[in-house]
């Protein structure tokens, strides 16, 4: 049994919230450069250049890459041999968000109630997903998830008869209908299988995979490649101004499902793909 203090979790979350918002990942920067070599649209290339400049300013001046500093989604993988002391896990995460957003000059974007819509003022609460895993480590994965792209995420319960073609058509339809609104070029996290809620969770988790890091299963790797090719033929392009780069990556995760079901969930993520993780 290993003991981890809740305070340690809070301090780590403070740091991850700030780093995610200021420092876009190297995989994203590489994706911008790669797209610049293939994008035919001059307006599209101009947008990609602005992303690079924006990332540079954000990193060096510790300004958020995007003013929508997001809903904090936190996946916590808790080793079965870990014991958290000094407070509740979720409280520790929320305290980290509260401090990280306040001290980091990050925007408070969460309303306390879907109908009364009063801002909580400190970007809490986070959405926390916990999972028990083997070992004595605790992994914190933080994503600052933008609202504009999240609003374009969708779910469809396909029939088994629709099969892989049905799933593919739905993913492409999601990207097409997200259009310019979700700040393309996009990343799509796709969860296929499980149940209604499991598919959604798979789709979120798929976003934590590095850009250009394919699913290890060959058939899913091929599916991801085909989907990305199709998405980039839609013509939407950077910011929707028209072009060849509509998506940077499509990540598919699957899970077994019921004999009646073929759940497909698509989380749409923008180019401001901000996430960091730490292992305690």
């Amino acid at each position: 049994m290993r003991t981890i203090d809740a305070q340690h979790i809070t301090e780590t979350i403070v740091r991850l919230c700030m780093e995610a918002n200021y420092n876009l990942g190297d995989d994203m920067l590489a994706a911008f450069d790669k797209a610049l070599t293939t994008e035919r649209s001059a307006a599209g290339r101009g947008v990609l250049e602005m992303f690079k400049e924006n990332a540079q300013i954000a990193r060096t001046q510790r300004l958020p890459y995007c003013q929508d500093t997001g809903f904090v989604i936190c996946f916590v993988d808790i080793g079965q041999d870990v014991h958290i002391t000094g407070g509740l896990l979720e409280d520790a995460v929320n305290e980290g968000v509260r401090r990280g957003y306040k001290e980091g000059y990050l925007r408070a974007s969460i309303v306390a109630d879907p109908f009364n819509r009063k801002n909580t003022g400190d970007n809490t609460p986070a959405v926390v997903h916990t999972q028990i895993v083997p070992g004595d480590k605790l992994t914190l994965m933080v994503m600052a998830k933008g609202g504009g792209c999240e609003n374009r995420s969708k779910y469809k319960m396909c029939t088994p008869a629709e099969g892989v073609e049905g799933a593919k058509n739905f993913v492409i339809e999601c990207i097409r209908t997200a259009g310019p609104d979700a700040c393309p070029p996009l990343i799509a996290g796709v969860g296929i299988g499980g149940t209604f809620e499991r598919a959604a969770l798979l789709s979120k988790r798929a976003l934590f995979r590095g850009i250009g890091e394919p699913n290890p299963k060959p058939d899913l790797q091929e599916l991801e490649r085909e989907l990305l090719e199709k998405a980039n033929k839609l013509g939407i392009g950077p910011q929707g101004y028209g072009g060849d780069t509509t998506a940077f990556a499509i990540h598919v995760n699957t899970y077994p499902c019921h004999i009646t079901s073929l759940p497909v969930a698509v989380t749409i993520e923008c180019h401001a793909h901000r996430h960091k993780e730490a292992v305690l």
């Binding site: 400049e53 929508d68 504009g148 700040c183 939407i236």
Partner: protein, 187 residues
Amino acid sequence: MAGEEIRQLTTPLADADLVSLRAGDRVRLSGVLLTGRDAAHQRLIALLDAGQSLPIDVRGQVIYYVGPSPPRPGMVIGSAGPTTGGRMDSYAPKLMALGLKGMIGKGARSLPVREAMQKHKCVYFGAVGGAGALLSKYIKSAEIIAYEDLGTEAIRRLVVEDFPVIVIDDTHGNDLYEEGRKQYAQE
């Protein structure tokens, strides 16, 4: 789609300039922009519906759909890129009828909004979404002029210099998103 030259325009925008703009034109805006997004629009329209006057005069103005992040000490504003314009679709025609001449956001507008833009000679500009750190550098001053309690959603008066935008919807019914997609789609 429009040419490569960059237009320099200063607010308030003149009708002659507005009608000369075409979807795809790159523009650098200088002068005053007002900010407003979901919550501020909701309040403004509620006042209009109740027959009351607004805390701001929108005549000839440009509204930037933005909810900036907080400024660090000594800075004018935090990160300040556009939010999705479509969420303001149900409000925008009423402000255009009062004389609003420009909107800055990102993402597609509805057909009724585009028709109102033609009728009232109003242009929808796109700023690059997610480039909030970079765009903040073109903002020279910012002050809250209404609804301070809304925090990031308060109405601000910004002074900008050479703020980079592109014309998405012009006063003639053209739409950059439709034209751009048609040009590059390989379906």
